[in-house]
């Protein structure tokens, strides 16, 4: 195994991790502030990707497509918050699971109805396409590198938003004490809508960014959603910092596990069987990571309560 391959996979893991972070940040905020488990978060990821693909096809502009993904996902978020989610904040977890599962069915079939079952594609912008030479002789796609940059920037932005701004203070207060924040004269229902829309926009944004390098299709949000859950479990519910660290850990584990585990098994197995066992185990690596964290810290690395 060459060092170049390892560096490449490290960067891939990082890139995957920051995209997971965009998903997990919204999920963890919505859990933390409103106490809601939102299975439909993956649908918002898909909405963003479809919006971007449609706008990119119509205008040819990647950046308009990105803007459309943010707008469409946020708008979809507001609509479902106002009509469905709002009624679930004080409901049992089971109701939340079912109602948001119902939303997934509606979103998935709706998207299939409008866009059909065939995957859509759209291209990365010319200015970001092609590989770039990194120090040390590693060639790496510029677009993926840009994704890492964007993810880190969004992470910093979220940190600034929650730690330094007025709305951030309201969000954190809302997470700790709903009565108190209502007593302060903050319109809590509007705050919830804003938080939900913010989470939705982040998910849609991630969907669009990833959509440019993968295909855009119905169901694309499901695997990402579940990995984002793993991230939230590892990081701890309600913690943006936990979501960030969890996402990077999961991203790296997933990508590095895929190349290292088969090699490890080759040390004591014949190559064919080693590759099979290694890759089968690699597909489970992030869940094993989650299991280990659970044994060690049941409420996650940065979680306050179980």
């Amino acid at each position: 195994m060459s060092p170049i391959l390892i560096i490449e996979q490290l960067l891939n893991g990082l890139q995957f991790g920051v995209m997971l972070f965009l998903m997990a940040a919204g999920l963890t905020l919505i859990f933390g502030v409103m106490g809601l488990i939102n299975l439909a978060h993956g649908s918002l990821y898909m909405v963003g990707a479809f919006a971007a693909a449609a706008v990119a096809a119509a205008t040819g502009s990647f950046f308009l497509a990105l803007a459309a993904s943010l707008a469409a996902a946020a708008a979809a978020g507001v609509v479902i918050e106002v009509f469905v989610i709002r009624r679930l904040y004080r409901a049992a977890h089971l109701d939340q699971v079912l109602a948001t599962f119902a939303l997934i069915l509606i979103f998935a079939e709706g998207a299939r109805w409008v866009f059909g079952s065939f995957p859509l594609y759209f291209d990365v912008p010319p200015m970001l396409s092609g590989p770039i030479m990194l120090p040390g002789g590693v060639q790496y796609p510029l677009y993926r590198l840009a994704l890492i940059g964007v993810g880190l920037a969004v992470g910093c932005g979220l940190w600034w938003l929650t730690a330094r701004t007025r709305i951030g203070i309201q969000i954190r207060a809302g997470a700790n004490d709903r009565e108190m924040i209502a007593a302060l004269g903050v319109d809590i229902s509007r705050l919830y809508t804003v938080v939900f829309a913010l989470g939705a926009a982040l998910a849609g944004f991630a969907g669009a960014l990833v959509g440019a390098i993968q295909s855009v299709e119905v169901g694309m949000g499901d695997p990402v959603l579940i990995m984002a859950f793993v991230v939230v479990v590892i990081g701890g519910i309600g913690s943006i910092k936990g979501a960030f660290i969890g996402a990077i850990l999961v991203g790296l584990t997933d990508r590095l596990g895929g190349i290292f585990l088969p090699e490890v098994f080759k040390l004591f197995m014949e190559p064919g069987a080693a590759t099979q066992t290694g890759s089968a185990l690699a597909s489970m690596a992030i869940y094993i990571l989650m299991g280990v964290v659970l044994v060690w810290r049941p409420s996650g690395l940065f979680g306050a309560r179980a």
Partner: protein, 327 residues
């Protein structure tokens, strides 16, 4: 209002009558649909023990359904290829015998439920939901990447497995087998619910602190419920694989976990035959609505939203006029 006792007997009887009528009128497809109801109902009865009595919102029960399916698939695959299954020093012959397959399915799912339960029950609430979901997904990916048994394509079993004294290839006979198992599971759940264990488990859902202060361990009660629940769902998985003569990773899919919960909600959480009603309505909807439009899931989603937002207690809650347990 209709007493729940009546519904408890009427629903399985109704399912049985439909199958018999379909047999007399020679409509094997309808028999297959009723068999599907019995099997999905059995899977959801399993989940209902954890969810309805123990309050454990498991979004990963497809794990056990899939394990049951693969227990059947792997054993039958080795039997049909006449190749023994080698597990290190252990060499196992494949088998086409249903009772043996069922035992393997039940034991495997119970062990998996024990492992997943021990980890998941370290937490509660939304953590529990996400963790069970994640472990289910882990098995899904494992089955996709484990190419020895078909990987993503799954395994086809050419002939249905055998049960002594019964021709399982005759639809009505296979239905009978599934129906008896469903009834046995219903009896088991009814006894369990009324037993000391059921009383304690039901209290552990409502007031875990109280259960602790009378000297019982609520986590252990819930863990055992989870294991029993997983074992029954695993048995259903083995039957489902036999019904289709096919297993694939889709049996592990998290949509299936979600659908099992949906079946319970439609019928009524914690109600004995709630899952059977849910399965019947689900299969009927799938058949009729699916015949009308390719996009029938939109309709299913809308119905589900309606049930969650406006009517707690599902069909049985509606019929009896009594709200069910709070989960």
């Amino acid at each position: 209002m209709i007493p729940e006792r009546f519904i408890t007997f009427a629903v399985p009887a109704g399912l049985f009558i439909i199958a018999i009528l379909a047999f007399w009128t020679d409509e094997p497809f309808t028999i297959t649909l009723t068999t599907r109801v019995a099997i999905l109902g059995l899977a959801a009865v399993g989940l209902n023990i954890a969810l309805g009595i123990g309050g454990l919102v498991s979004l990963g029960h497809a794990a056990f359904f899939g394990l049951g399916g693969y227990a059947m698939g792997i054993l039958a695959y080795h039997a049909q290829t006449y190749s023994p299954l080698t597990l290190g020093p252990l060499v196992i012959e494949g088998t086409k015998s249903m009772p043996v397959i069922w035992i393997v399915a039940v034991v495997t799912s119970a062990l998996a439920a024990l492992a997943i339960g021990v980890l998941s029950l370290r937490t509660s609430g939304v953590y529990f939901i996400m963790i069970t979901l994640a472990f289910g997904q882990m098995l899904y990916y494992f089955s996709v990447s484990w190419s020895a048994y078909g990987g993503e394509d799954g395994l086809s079993i050419y002939l249905r497995n055998e049960f002594p004294g019964i021709n399982t290839l005759v639809p009505i006979q296979f239905f009978g087998l599934c129906f008896v198992l469903l009834c046995l599971a219903l009896v088991l759940q009814a006894r369990l619910r009324g037993s000391s264990f059921g009383l304690a488990l039901n209290a552990a859902r409502q007031a875990p602190a109280r259960v602790e202060t009378v000297g019982l361990n609520p986590v252990r009660l819930k863990l055992l419920a989870f294991v029993i629940s997983g074992a029954i769902t695993g048995l259903a998985g083995a039957l489902y694989a036999d019904l289709n003569r096919f297993v694939s990773p889709s049996m592990f899919s998290w949509h299936l976990s979600g659908e099992l919960i949906v079946l319970i909600i439609i019928g009524g959480v914690g109600r004995l035959v709630g899952p059977v009603i849910g399965a019947a309505l689900f299969v009927a909807l799938e058949h009729w609505l699916g015949g009308l439009t390719e996009y029938w899931h939109i309709g299913l989603g809308a119905i589900l939203l309606g049930i969650v937002l406006f009517s707690r207690g599902g069909v049985i809650g509606f019929l009896t006029g009594k709200a069910g347990p709070n989960v």
